[in-house]
Amino acid sequence: MACLHDHSCEDHDCSSDWSLYKHIDLDKVSALNEATTGTVKSVFKAWEHRLNTSGEHLESNEGDPELLVFIPFTSDVKIKSISIVGGADGTSPSKMRAFINRDGIDFSDAQSMQAIQEWDLAENMQGVLEYQTRYSKFQSVGNITLHFPDNFGGDTTKIHYIGLKGEATQLKRDVVATIVYELMPNPSDHKTRAETGGGFSHVE
């Protein structure tokens, strides 16, 4: 496990830093222009397995290197940095653009919108490169959309691993969790203050 930090790895465990994948809502992860539906979920795994290229990976359609990955979280997170492990032979993505807290972005939206941050990626076969974020902008992230517009010349774009480093808060964003629709009002559901005691006004 090569951690090219400028310190020795024995003191800390790198994998615990990259544990934000545990807070991803995997069921709702989706990707556009993936060759096989559902393979996008395979790129979110533990740090130890990032170089494991034998299993499933995310691949774009033939002749089209663009990829769009939508990642919702189970609670708001702060993202410090992102790591991408791409494929060999020019199938690694060369650029990455991120959008925060936007639902339902498709390719035309992604191309026309201003991203919150953009990075130029390098081929990261050893999985040691990480791309830092402008932390102040990534403070309360409910979902993040990553757009990979281009690759290093391959026919398709392959991604084996997407790692996120940061902290998870316990807060949730704007979730209207329990809505009860009433067809007819049920008085027992609507106890007034007068009935339960307290309150100053009442109707004679």
Binding site: L32, N33, T36, T37, N61, D64, E66, D103, G104, D106, F107, S108
Partner: protein
Amino acid sequence: MVLEATMICIDNSEWMRNGDYSPSRFQAQADAVNLICGAKTQSNPENTVGVLIMAGKGVRVLVTPTSDLGKILACMHGLEVGGEMNLAAGIQVAQLALKHRQNKKQQQRIIVFAGSPVKHEKKMLEMIGRKLKKNSVALDIVNFGEDDEEKTEKLESLLAAVNNNDTSHIVHVPAGPNALSDVLISTPIFTGDGEGGSGFAAAAAAAAAGGVSGYDFGVDPNLDPELALALRVSMEEERARQEAAAKKAAEDTSKQGGEQQAGSQEASSQDATMTERASASTSEAENKTTDLMDDENALLQQALAMSMDEPAVGHDVKDTDMSEASVDDPELALALQLSVADSTKDQASQSEVLADQSAVSDILASLPGVDLNDPSIKDLLASMQNKSEKKNDDKSSNEEKK
């Protein structure tokens, strides 16, 4: 039960005037569209469907994706046939309409009815197909109407470009005895990618296979359960009411008054249940009108029967008529009954009321525009007073005689 937003692209070009699909290609297409909309909204209540036309003056969206079936059916009226179909533009506009759907969680699907020849290049269609696939939009193509190899080849290549995991389909419908909608019912366009199909589609398929015969009222209970229920209910009510009417007729010939009251109350209570059941189904208005018409027919028949059997009971016929006509309001019926009973008991009651002069003058004073001091009114009152005096004299003389 996939949550889906669908855009249906209709071909209303000149080629749709042809009658090789009965009654005309355009009409067959419209029926198929209605059926599809129903199936989609039934399989998941949050599904939305939109419609656009590809020919005419140009590609135009008639309805943006909505779950309101009425809107969709309404917009299909008054569509004109003409112009040339623009398949590429139609699909692109449909994609745009789907992009702006309100619920982003819905899957996107386009259903295209390709009836006229396709004038676009194969390459262009493939490019469009790839764009749809990239944005994960599924495409269903209904190839009907004009039949040439080039068209079929182009549409097949379009499907190959779009198809992702068998979510897109193409159906070729040749002209023939079967209606376009019947052929479509058994295809994956209706049954939704082999999920087992919605109940609607499966039942409709069974109905189509079995033909129209064999149903009680000539209406398939599966295709239109509400209409079938309404017909069945009104049949039962008609039978029950006729029994009640027959019973009443038998009773009327033997007794009056009390029986009539009971009969009318019975009929009114029956009517209450009738109206309750009618309100449960959506064709309430139909039920009521048929009931009223049946009531009138029965009234006539009853009147005829009675007048032929017993001319002496003419008075009762009138009473029956009144009670029958007023069964909608049981209180009114009761009131009428009482008033009729009263009048039979004391025929002179009305004239006695008039004879009470003070009461009459009070009544007249309460009437607007009547001046008690008006000489004509005074004369009238005086004449009535004389009449009542005469009657009283007669009565007293009769009593004396007795």
